[in-house]
Structure formats: structure tokens, C-alpha cells
């Protein structure tokens, strides 16, 4: 039987483009929702600040937060009420913090590296409920 190469080539093209894009985005979406409790992206205040500015996690359950620095400068992360800090997340890098919140309330988190003129405004809040 002669192999029909045309459909194979078309299938490869579709696999390498549309399916690849949908597959990668779908996989990442699934991975993040399965692996992390919340996600933060870091940019200097002038360019977006912490996003989202408020994250909510459940009380008493292990939390895993992905912090992605999508900026062109380094940022740090500190959550003083839980004594959690990441000294430096370089531009383009990501960090993961894991802890179990043992108190309810609203807790500030801040950037700990002087990242811009409005560095002091680079803060957000963690809601534990």
C-alpha cells in the first residue's frame, strides 16, 4: 500500500503549530492550577506592581505560591507576618514559596530590593480566610 505523504505533512504542520500552542498553554494552565495555590507577577510600581495586588489563600492548608519576576530588574519578596522572604528574584526568574498559614487576616507583602523610584509603593496583600 502506498503511503499518502500529503496528509502526514499537513498533520505534522497542524501538530507543530495549532496543537503545539493549545497544548503548551493548556498544559501550563493545568499545571499551575494543580500545583500552585496562587500566582504573583512582579513588576516595578510604575509598570504594574505586584499582580494581582491581593491574593487569597485558605487558612490552615499548605499553600504554594509562584512568584514570577517579569520585569527587567531584580525584585525581592517578603511576607513579614509569616517570616517568609525571597532575597532576590532576578529579572526573568521565578521563585516558589511554601508555607501553611496558621492565622487568618490580611497581611502585607512587599518588594525588598530597591527596584525603582517608587519601590516603597511596591506592596500587596495576602488574605487568609
Amino acid at each position: 500500500m502506498k503511503i499518502k505523504n500529503e496528509p502526514i505533512a499537513v498533520a505534522m504542520l497542524i501538530l507543530g503549530t495549532i496543537v503545539a500552542i493549545i497544548g503548551i498553554l493548556g498544559f501550563e494552565n493545568y499545571r499551575r492550577s494543580a500545583e500552585y495555590t496562587a500566582e504573583l507577577t512582579a513588576r516595578a510600581t510604575e509598570y504594574g506592581n505586584w499582580y494581582p495586588n491581593t491574593i487569597t489563600i485558605p487558612y490552615g492548608k499548605p499553600a504554594k505560591i509562584l512568584i514570577r519576576n517579569i520585569d527587567v530588574v531584580s525584585h525581592g519578596f517578603a511576607l513579614p507576618d509569616f517570616q517568609i522572604a525571597v532575597m532576590e528574584i532576578k529579572a526573568g526568574e521565578s521563585a516558589v514559596i511554601e508555607f501553611t498559614p496558621d492565622k487568618k487576616g490580611v497581611f502585607p507583602f512587599v518588594c525588598t530590593i530597591w527596584c525603582s523610584n517608587r519601590h516603597m509603593e511596591m506592596r500587596g496583600q495576602l488574605v487568609v480566610e
Binding site: 505523504n5 500529503e6 505533512a9 504542520l13 507543530g16 520585569d71 527587567v72 532576578k90 526573568g92 526568574e93
Partner: protein, 475 residues
């Protein structure tokens, strides 16, 4: 192939060829319709990842972005250091950008559909059937180099424009018009491929002469007529051969070959069908000028100039564009013109037109420019190459670690001796420029005495360029 009695450096036989396609398995692979379709499809997947990474990377840091790193560190360096000087337009062979317009024209990806191609199939204007549009396109592209090389979204936009441009032009104009006359990356590959150590050529002219119709041009059931709208049976230069391999498939006599050859033999070719021209001369000037500007901007210590290129202030950025344009289009050619004028005066020849001296000697800048770009590429690769290992494992900076290399820190390699490596490359290519310059001088002027005298100013120019870059590289 044009026979020449000249020997490069007095020892290298420029007629020497080694046919790679004489090996049956090699020819069989190259004649398969999966070649180059399969590498193109793999490359297409790679560029999907690059585009996705560049898009999702947005305005983030370029050094951890797969799109930026693969395009501007890996691809550019591979292109300048290996693909073009070694394998001619091998990149064009596997480039995925025209696949959609090819598909639209042929309505087939793999099979050969006989008859007229789809699309409007308009002819590209004859006046623009040269490198001028590509010269401008590439120069304009470099206006944005300070953004493209650091901002992922800028790389996404550039690639997007090229992909959409290739598709739209393919729907309007015939065959690979975009690749031939518009693609910003095509021009310098065409120019520098004249130096390449590989060529696609016919084997026996008698076979081609008696073969009608010329299937390499019109196509047959085995393949399409030359998509680059050339006449492969008559190839003398690599400039516009996209190495798509269709002519190897369509020749019923297996009379097309891929040969290894001494580097640079095309520089001596000046035929009616493939003449030397001002468009290619200006391409050589532009490439040399851009290399100088890029070195100053990206590898030099001059912060104010970096700020201009990066558009920190609008006046500074406009100043960069103005300087860049004038320097490349006027100053470099102007300086070279002075040396060409001196060459003519010193030679004592009154018959050769100055334009001919200027144009022909400009081809010495092909090996010279290639050497400069290779040196520049070393300056990109050695300090930044380690980023590639990192982005391979985490292409979207999403915290992946596919190959266990995501945590590899930035590790410059051999930067202590980088300048000497760059200098050594430069000197080798200076030697090629001088070697071919001398052979060109003998072509331009009537006798050896005139050639010797006329070559002195060109040798001086080449030496000055080399000294400038040695100073920049080694300090």
C-alpha cells in the same frame, strides 16, 4: 561553473570541486520530497515556541527569554559563523516563514501539483529585482535593534511582520518573490553566500543545452520549477539560490549537483546573467557599517551610545537613526569611493570606468564583512551562550526545568581571550579579502602592473578596516 586560471594566494585551485551528491544515499535523501520539508516543519515548531515565548515574554527581560536567546544569540551566531560561510543559503532551505505562502500557491505541502500555481502570481517590478529593497529593509530593521534584542515582544513583532509579509506577498506575487527581493534576512545571506564553501550547480552543460523543456525551471511531476525564479541550469553564483533542492528533484538526468568548493569563488564571477552590481556593493557597505555601529552599541563601553540605540530619549534615538543611516548609506560608501578613485588614478588606466572600479572592488568587503560579523558573533556567543542552556529548560520563564539546566547561572566563557579569538578570525578573513582583492584587481585592470598599482589603495582600505576592528576587539 566558470573556469579560472587564477589561484587564491597563489596555491588554492579555484576550479576544485568535490561533489557531495555523487554519493547515492546523499542524492536519494536530497531528492526525497521530505527534504527539505521535514526540517522546515521541525523548524516551524521551533519558531512556534519562539513566537509564543516572545509573545508571553512581553516586556520582560530578554536574557531569560527563549525567543530572544534563540533568535539573537543562537540563530544569528549560527547564521554568521556556520550556515552562510559554510553552507551558503542553507537557512533559506529550512526557513519556515514561506511555508504558508508556498502551501497557498501550490495547494499542496508534500505532493507536486502540476500546472499553474495559485495566487495572483504577479511579476515583481524589474527595477526592484535586485537587493535595493532588502538593503533598506535590513537597515530599517536595525533601527529597532536596541529593542528587538532585549524586549521579547519586539522580537515577536518583527517575526510576525516577516511571516505575514511572506504570506501576503506570496499571495500577490509569483513564487518566492518575498525571499528574493524583500526579506530583510535574505540580502546579506545572498551576498555572503558568495563566499560559501557549498554551491548548487549543474554538472554537464551539454546535457542542459540539449534538454528541453528545462525542467529545473518549469518543473515536472517530481518537483516545482525553481521557486526562486532562477535558471538553475545556468547558475554561476550562490546569491539568489535558496537551496530549495527542487532542481535536484526535477532534473531527469541527475545533472544538478551540490559541491564543496574553495571559499569565495563567486566573488570572481561577473556574467551578463549574474553581474556584479551597485545593489550588492551597497549591501556590503551596509553590512560593514552596521557591524561597526552594532559593535559600538552592544559590545563597546560607550554608555551614551547604548542609550541612544535603546531609545532612552526621543532626540537621542532619532540621532541614532540619522547617524546610522548616513553612516551606512553615505559615509562608508563615500570613504570607499575615495579609495576606489585613488585606485583608478594610481593604476594609470584611463579606460576602466570609475563606477566599475568602485563596484568590483566592493566585493572585497564580502570576506572582510563576513570576518567582522564572525568576530562580532563571537562577542555575542561567548559572554551570553550560557543563557541558551537555561532557556532550553525553561523556554517561557514559567518555572519549568525540562532538561535540568534551568538553574544554570549566567556563565561567560573564554571572555578573557575573546578579543584574541575575534582578532584571529578577522585576520584570516582579511587575508581572504586581500587574496580576492588582488584577483579582482587583475580582472579590473588591463595588465598586472596596473593591477598592482591600482590594488594599493584598496589594500590600504582593507588594512585600515582590519586595524579599526582589531582595536575594537582587542583594545
Amino acid at each position: 561553473m566558470i573556469e579560472t586560471k587564477d589561484k587564491l594566494f597563489g596555491i588554492v585551485d579555484l576550479n576544485a570541486r568535490f561533489e557531495l551528491t555523487k554519493f547515492k544515499p546523499v542524492r536519494a535523501v536530497l531528492k526525497s520530497r521530505w527534504m527539505p520539508l521535514l526540517p522546515i516543519l521541525i523548524n516551524l515548531f521551533m519558531f512556534v515556541i519562539i513566537l509564543l515565548a516572545a509573545f508571553t515574554g512581553g516586556l520582560s527581560a530578554g536574557n531569560y527569554n527563549f525567543g530572544i536567546m534563540i533568535v539573537w544569540i543562537l540563530w544569528w551566531v549560527l547564521l554568521m559563523m556556520m550556515l552562510v560561510p559554510g553552507f551558503s543559503r542553507a537557512w533559506c532551505m529550512v526557513c519556515p516563514f514561506p511555508i504558508f505562502s508556498d502551501w497557498a500557491q501550490r495547494t499542496r505541502l508534500f505532493d507536486v501539483k502540476p500546472g499553474k500555481l495559485g495566487g495572483l502570481g504577479l511579476k515583481w517590478p524589474k527595477k526592484l529585482s535586485n537587493m535595493w529593497v532588502m538593503n533598506i529593509a535590513f537597515l530599517v530593521t536595525t533601527f529597532f535593534s536596541g529593542f528587538m534584542t532585549v524586549l521579547p515582544i519586539a522580537t515577536f513583532i518583527l517575526l510576525g511582520i516577516i511571516i505575514i509579509g511572506a504570506f501576503v506577498i506570496g499571495l500577490i506575487f509569483e513564487k518566492r518573490t518575498f525571499c528574493l527581493y524583500l526579506c530583510p534576512v535574505s540580502g546579506f545571506q545572498g551576498l555572503y553566500s558568495q563566499f560559501a564553501t557549498v554551491e548548487v550547480r549543474r554538472k554537464d552543460w551539454e546535457i542542459c543545452k540539449n534538454h528541453n523543456p528545462k525542467t529545473c525551471y518549469v518543473g515536472n511531476e517530481k518537483g516545482y520549477g525553481c521557486p526562486w525564479n532562477r535558471t538553475p541550469f545556468d547558475f554561476q553564483k550562490n546569491t539568489y539560490c535558496g537551496m530549495c533542492l527542487e532542481c535536484l528533484k526535477t532534473c531527469p538526468y541527475d545533472n544538478m549537483a551540490i559541491n564543496l568548493r574553495p571559499p569565495g569563488v563567486d566573488l570572481l564571477v561577473d556574467t551578463k546573467r549574474e553581474p556584479r552590481g551597485l545593489d550588492e556593493a551597497w549591501k556590503a557597505f551596509i553590512m560593514l557599517g552596521i557591524a561597526i555601529v552594532f559593535y559600538l552599541a552592544f559590545q563597546g563601553p560607550w554608555g551614551f551610545f547604548k542609550d541612544m540605540v535603546r531609545g532612552v530619549t526621543l532626540p537621542g534615538y532619532l540621532g541614532y537613526i540619522a547617524f546610522h543611516t548616513v553612516f551606512n548609506l553615505l559615509i562608508i560608501p563615500g570613504v570607499f569611493f575615495v579609495f576606489a578613485y585613488l585606485s583608478k588614478r594610481l593604476s594609470g588606466n584611463t579606460e576602466v570606468p570609475l563606477k566599475s572600479v568602485f563596484t568590483n572592488f566592493a566585493y572585497t568587503l564580502i570576506p572582510m564583512g563576513l570576518g567582522v560579523w564572525m568576530g562580532f558573533s563571537v562577542g555575542i556567543l561567548l559572554p551570553n551562550g550560557s543563557y541558551i542552556l537555561r532557556v532550553l529548560s525553561d523556554p517561557f520563564a514559567w518555572g519549568w526545568n525540562l532538561f535540568g539546566t534551568a538553574q544554570i547561572p549566567w556563565t561567560p566563557v573564554l571572555t578573557g581571550i575573546m578579543g584574541y579569538i575575534q582578532g584571529a578570525i578577522l585576520i584570516v578573513f582579511f587575508a581572504f579579502a586581500v587574496g580576492y582583492g588582488w584577483l579582482l584587481a587583475k580582472q579590473i585592470y588591463a595588465d598586472v602592473k596596473q593591477a598592482k598599482r591600482g590594488f594599493i589603495p584598496i589594500l590600504t582600505f582593507l588594512t585600515l578596516i582590519t586595524l579599526v576592528f582589531l582595536w575594537l576587539f582587542v583594545g
